[in-house]
């Protein structure tokens, strides 16, 4: 292949960092990075630069949004043992979500709800 320096200058590492490459192209860059420390260093620098750019766009988020988002996420994630991508919409016969998950969701939904002392239907 070409020498590391001209490889770096080709701009492919920036394309990698910007997410513009196909999986096959990414794999090729990973292979170059594994062979040449200079390429690896340059690639990491590009990724950090874009992390910085992303971080610079941070927004202050309302607390209510945190509860909303986390509740929905916890309600949607599959139980640890189940295969991914199974929506937790109750289908008959589907395994119930793990009790620890349910407990988390409940805790988030009603942070202060005390257990009702043994009455109420």
């Amino acid at each position: 292949m070409e020498d590391p320096q001209s490889y770096i200058e080709s701009g492919i590492l920036e394309q990698y960092a910007l997410g513009l490459l196909t999986p096959a192209e990414r794999a090729a860059v990973d292979a170059e990075a594994a062979r040449h420390p200079l390429v690896a260093e340059e690639l990491a620098a590009g990724q950090r630069a874009l992390e910085y750019y992303a971080e610079a766009h941070s927004r202050e988020l309302p607390a209510a949004m945190r509860d909303r988002v986390l509740n929905k996420v916890l309600a949607q994630i599959a139980p640890a043992a189940a295969p991914v991508d199974v929506p937790v919409v109750a289908t008959t016969g589907a395994p119930a979500p793990s009790t620890s998950l349910r407990a988390d969701v409940d805790a988030l939904a009603r942070p202060q709800a005390p257990p009702s002392p043994g009455c109420a239907p």
């Binding site: 920036e14 630069a49 910085y52 971080e55 610079a56 949004m65 988002v69 988390d104």
Partner: protein, 186 residues
């Protein structure tokens, strides 16, 4: 400008977070949210340009991150880069399904370009000191190209075509811009 900018987490915390997510510890999602949500939401909302949609995308992204986490390989890249790419891809898919399918791709780009021309304060109301540094560091031509590539989902060729610039110029500006951003970190 001595204000501290939390660019990267202390390595130990990131490692701890990764370990707990790998162990399928659901409570780590809360920790994850507290660490990353403001940056992820910032990026997503910059792409979809609507806070309600951005919240939906963030939620989808968290579910996806959780489900895909077994595939995350810390050897191959940092956690933040990995999750940023998941969020960007979901957000870009969202605007494509909304605008691009209907008609011309050009329409979407025009919107992006119009957004670039707006004064920064109106575009994203920077709440973060880092953005001021970015604005001071990159010339508008560089920032426009990075934004189209990173937030707009365009390839370098598409940017070149739309901005009527040689591809080489687009590549050079992107490369220079990333280099300049990298210098801000130290």
């Amino acid at each position: 400008m001595s204000d501290t900018l939390p660019i990267s987490l202390p390595t130990a915390s990131e490692e701890d977070l990764v370990r707990r997510l790998k162990a399928r510890d659901e409570s780590a999602l809360t920790l994850f949210y507290d660490r990353y949500a403001s940056a992820l939401f910032g990026v997503i909302s910059r792409i979809v340009k609507d806070d309600d949609t951005a919240e939906d995308v963030l939620q989808e992204a968290l579910v996806k991150i959780w489900n895909a986490f077994p595939a995350y390989d810390a050897e191959k890249g940092r956690l933040f880069t990995w999750v940023l790419n998941i969020c960007r891809n979901l957000a870009i898919d969202k605007i494509r399904s909304r605008q691009y399918r209907v008609g011309t791709r050009t329409q979407g780009l025009d919107d992006s370009l119009a957004a670039q021309r707006m004064p920064a304060a109106e575009t994203f109301r920077p709440e973060h000191i880092g953005l001021q540094e970015v604005v001071q560091t990159l010339v508008p031509e560089q920032r426009q190209i990075i934004d189209l590539l990173y937030f707009g989902g365009y390839t370098q060729s598409e940017v070149a075509e739309e901005l009527k610039l040689p591809l080489g110029t687009v590549k050079t500006r992107a490369r220079t811009a990333i280099k300049l951003l990298g210098k801000l970190i130290r």
